[in-house]
Amino acid sequence: MKQSVIEFERPIAELESKLEELTELARRDKVDFSSEISNIKRKVKKMRRDIFLNLAPLQRAQLARHPMRPHTLDYIDHMTTDFLEMRGDRLFGNDKSIVGGFCNLESRTVMIIGQQKGRDTKENLARNFGMANPEGYRKAQRLMKLAEKFNRPIITLIDTKGAFPGKGAEERGQAEAIARSLLEMSRLTVPVVCVVIGEGGSGGALAIGVGNRVLMMEYSVYSVISPEGCAAILWKSADKAPEAAKALRMTAPDLLEFGIVDEVVKEPLGGAHKDFKAAASILRRALRRNLDELARMSPQELVRQRRKKFRKMGSFV
């Protein structure tokens, strides 16, 4: 699979291709390059660590939307078994930019729901780039209530630029769909764990983000507006996206510091896209731990804890 590369990943990618060439050469000509090879390997590792230790906020946002990054269905694939996708909002249609259904996660039946982006143009068109229409949010609400009915915990995976700003979306009540989702999620009587796996874009992300626990993958971002959008409005220039990304404090460590998220889930070195399996297994363990803890709470306690958690959010004097 050809990997697309972000600007700051390029030196690593170049070194890696050199390494590949050398390995190939050694194999073909049966020459011993082992010391050079291990030398370059060490260099790659060091370079990757250095680069990833000093990522600028906009670079983290770029990583969060890396096309090769694992998406909802990848996590479902690697973390769960027996996933059965359920479709449609029973009102209008089936929005493919949100997927959901029951599955088994570590010997527990859970309802898993998440925004689904595509990897290439064709897939992205089918998935509307992971930007849901109202029927997507209404499907999510339906599935959450279904889970509640059968007393199953809910996991949501957040990965969207935002709710789709289209004509049909407005005609069918995008605002209402999001608002209703916030209200309904806040009073679910089953455990809800939300994970920002990539882009947490504004109201369209929060619409499936009202959980007892909110987790963020290490290189995900969560913000009220995209850095590009913010730069265009407040700086009147999209070129100021790096400044906006910094000012918005949208990275996982920022949000942990603010107490908006409960936990940052480590990613493999170089980002989740370097190793889906490892990323999924780290997340699976984090989910199990959180679900175990929440399983001890009564339905009333779950609602109370969730409401209290969001009640406290805000900063004023």
């Binding site: 709710a163 789709f164 700003p165 289209g166 004509k167 979306a169 407005e170 005609e171 069918r172 009540g173 995008q174 605002a175 209402e176 999001i178 608002a179 209703r180 916030l182 209200l183 309904e184 806040s186 009073r187 504004s202 109201g203 929060l206 619409a207 983000g209 009202v210 969560y222 913000s223 009220v224 507006i225 913010c230 409005i233 407040l234 700086w235 009147k236 400044e243 906006a244 000012a247 918005l248 404090r249 949208m250 949000l255 603010f258 908006i260 969730r306 409401r307 969001f310 009640r311 959010m313 805000g314 900063s315 004023f316 004097v317």
Partner: protein, 302 residues
């Protein structure tokens, strides 16, 4: 061949005279009629000539909806913090200071308790002139506390929205106000206490996508822009022009997201009647028409 070789141009408006001295005379945004400022104020910024609804400040909105002398402001001391130390072309702190000076308000929301045609209500009002009526932590907190007062007092909640949405300068804290307010409304809903959401031009973004769209009854003023995404963003996305009237109150009513479009001067009466329908008629001591002299009777009725 035309009859006259010299074509007479129609008279053009003299542009220099278009500038009206500040304050005394105002020009209607819609029909361009010149209106005596005092007259517009007395008419709650509704053009007496064409009925166009101009922006109404939060204080004036309370004067419109709440019986004279009965409004008690709550949480007026809450002031914005700057949790991100946000700075774009301007410091967020300076933006707040400017808005305070311009509006005489502490924040984009005013909240309190009062009587609406003798019925006790809890009310919160957003003021568009304060950073676009945006939903920061303070507005979110005031609205949530308004809902919580409703829960304690069992009095209906009324929220008047006029807002561009979330407040970017407060980043994620602003976004979370959507969840905070909506969650409180869930509790209100379970207790069967009425919530009327009134939408005044414009209501978009994070405000429409939370409490504003969650009313038991949703009322809009005529021709208010109501939607999630702003029209410019939609046009950029779909690369076509939106039809006339798209996302306006009447459009939203036709699409099933607004119960009724009510002119400003009829709002109070309509809302009071609605409250009666929802709570069972609370004995109303005053005939609805005589709200001007409501102060004395309101006190005896409270």
């Amino acid at each position: 061949m035309s009859w006259f070789s010299k074509v007479k141009k129609p008279l053009e408006a003299i542009t220099s005279r278009d500038k009206i001295p500040e304050g005394i005379w105002k020009k209607c945004d819609e029909c361009k009629a010149i209106i005596y400022g005092q007259e517009l104020d007395n008419n709650f910024q509704v053009c007496p000539k064409c009925g166009h609804h101009h922006r109404l400040s939060a204080r004036e909105r309370i004067r419109l909806l709440i019986d004279e002398g009965t409004f008690q402001e709550k949480d007026g001391e809450l002031a914005p913090n700057d949790p991100l130390k946000f700075r774009d072309s301007k410091k967020y702190k300076d933006r707040i200071a400017e808005s305070k000076k311009k509006t005489g308000l502490n924040e984009s929301a005013i909240s309190g308790s009062g009587l609406m045609c003798n019925r006790p209500v809890e009310i919160a009002v957003l003021d568009f002139d304060f950073i676009g009526g945006t939903l920061g932590s303070v507005a979110g907190e005031k609205i949530t506390r308004t809902i919580e007062r409703s829960i304690r007092s069992r009095h209906p909640a009324i929220i008047v929205s006029s807002s561009g949405g979330a407040r970017m300068q407060e980043g994620i804290f602003s976004l979370m106000q959507m969840a905070k307010t909506s969650s409180a409304l869930g509790e209100l809903d379970e207790l069967k206490i009425p919530f009327i959401s009134l939408l005044a031009h414009p209501v978009t973004g994070g405000v429409s996508a939370s409490f504003a769209m969650l009313g038991d009854v949703i009322i809009a003023e005529p021709k208010a822009l109501i939607g999630f995404a702003g029209p410019r963003v939609i046009e950029e996305t779909i690369r076509e022009q939106l039809p006339e009237g798209f996302q306006r109150s009447e459009f939203m009513m036709d699409h099933g997201f607004v119960d009724m479009v009510v002119p400003r001067l009829e709002l109070k009466e309509t809302m009071a009647k609605l409250l009666d329908h929802m709570c069972g008629a609370i004995a109303c001591l005053l005939p609805l028409e005589s709200k001007e002299d409501s102060t004395d009777s309101a006190k005896s009725g409270a």
